[in-house]
């Protein structure tokens, strides 16, 4: 089945949201990871941290309602939720490095079967800088990579990352439109196959070696 980009992103965002538990402190990368908030399960409230100094990020604002004093890390106008607070860059990164963030969801250019991840640089082509990504991934309790399974047909889940790493041996989970992988010290495991994919499809589009050990309650 051929999915549109929009459908693909929705499938991934919806699955990411299932990982959130009530009162989790969560940091979300710009783009696809941020969309997961729209699919929060009923009765689950999370506290979203933004690296520029907002704990308890609220609703997005448009040009007419935005207060220029409050943005998220992507530069979008936001509000702050009741119980939230503003902090400086030191405190913001204390939260990240110090192990106070429950779940971090980021996109990636490549992830490998050892839990290495690359998302900040394609030498000579794309060098936006790492921003806060390296600090964030080091300290988080759980690191989820949310991304499309392939880039223009090329595998993104590989045996060994060839791009400059953001972090070594840290990724816990990969969620794509085709399925869910878990990475542990024992290796990489396929836990779920999406209704929009099949085991053969995943095998054909994944370069990394993985063990098929599906969760019993998976869809």
């Amino acid at each position: 089945m051929e999915l549109s980009k929009d459908e693909t992103q929705k499938i991934i965002a919806r699955r990411v949201a299932q990982e959130f538990h009530n009162n989790d402190v969560v940091t979300l990368g710009i783009g696809l990871p941020t969309k997961a908030i729209q699919y929060l399960p009923e009765n689950v409230e999370i506290i979203v941290q933004s690296e520029n100094g907002v704990l308890g990020v609220g609703a997005y604002q448009d040009e007419t309602t935005r207060d220029e004093h409050i943005i998220n890390a992507g530069g979008m106008g936001v509000t702050i939720n009741p119980g939230g607070c503003f902090v400086d860059s030191l405190m913001s990164f204390n939260m990240m490095r110090g192990g106070h963030i429950d779940i971090t969801v980021l996109g990636a250019l490549q992830v490998d079967e050892q839990g290495n991840m690359a998302n900040w640089c394609i030498p000579g082509k794309f060098t936006p800088g790492m921003g806060g990504a390296m600090d964030l991934v080091v300290g988080t309790k759980k690191l989820i990579i949310a991304m499309e399974h392939t880039a223009k047909g090329v595998a993104k889940i590989v045996k060994q990352c060839t791009l400059p790493l953001t972090v070594a041996h840290k990724v816990n989970m990969i969620i794509t439109e085709k399925g869910v992988f878990e990475i542990t010290e024992q290796g990489m495991f396929l836990r779920e196959i999406s209704p929009y994919s099949s085991l053969d499809d995943i095998k054909n589009t994944t370069e990394a070696d993985f063990v098929v050990e599906l969760c019993k309650n998976a869809a």
């Binding site: 913001s92 060098t127 600090d135």
Partner: protein, 220 residues
């Protein structure tokens, strides 16, 4: 007591080849008035220390586009295509740093520390040419202090003692840079007649030298 000056008067503190720290995260809490004044001069070849190079048409981004910056020590340049172009063309030296490491290096300088030990960057290109120190079996990078000749920062509120307070997410690097530079200039959106409530002061006035009545690209 700090001195309240006009943006143009701040030009006298600048010289060629200085290292300049500028606060702000993209356009939020970003000083702009003094930047507009130094852009009018022939000075340049500066080293910029900041979180990001903003956008081509705003604050720190304008300094990049005008060719005033020789080197930037920075965590993110992706919002300013001109920084990326200049880097690829060899017109500017870019030293990319993890954002939390950049903040801690500035704090180390301001706090009188010889550096900090961070696990961030271990196993990546960031660790190249840096000393690795093991503490209780875990590896850390030694990251050295980062000082500047001038710090140019934003505040939402300032009093005549130089005490600063902030609204929203404007604190970012503005809170730490004043500790780590020889001359510290604040662009304050509001200069308060009465001293700020001591309970609300975020940056103590003893770190501040000059205040400019101003604002920010991100908050007018």
């Amino acid at each position: 007591m700090v001195q309240i000056i006009k943006p143009a008067e701040a030009v006298q503190f600048f010289q060629n080849k200085q290292t300049i720290m500028i606060g702000g995260f993209l356009n939020c809490g970003s000083p702009e008035l003094v930047i507009a004044e130094i852009l009018k001069t022939n000075m340049g070849e500066w080293t910029l220390i900041a979180n990001d190079t903003a956008y081509p048409d705003s604050n720190r981004g304008k300094l990049i586009c005008a060719g005033k910056i020789k080197k930037a020590i920075i965590s993110h340049i992706g919002t300013n295509p001109e920084t990326v172009r200049k880097m690829n063309a060899g017109e500017i030296e870019i030293d990319l740093e993890p954002q939390g490491t950049l903040a801690e290096r500035i704090r180390a300088a301001g706090a009188g520390l010889g550096g900090i030990l961070t696990p961030v960057g271990i196993g990546t290109d960031v660790a190249k040419n840096k000393q690795i120190i093991a503490v209780d079996g875990r590896d850390y990078l030694l990251e050295k202090p980062l000082r500047a000749d001038i710090a140019l920062v934003y505040a939402t509120y300032a009093d005549r003692f130089g005490n600063l307070a902030f609204a929203g997410s404007t604190r970012n690097f503005n809170v730490l840079m004043p500790m780590a530079a020889d001359v510290v200039i604040v662009e304050a959106e509001n200069i308060c007649e009465e001293p700020l409530d001591p309970n609300n002061v975020v940056v103590p006035g003893i770190f501040i030298d000059y205040i400019v009545a101003g604002g920010s690209d991100g908050a007018k």
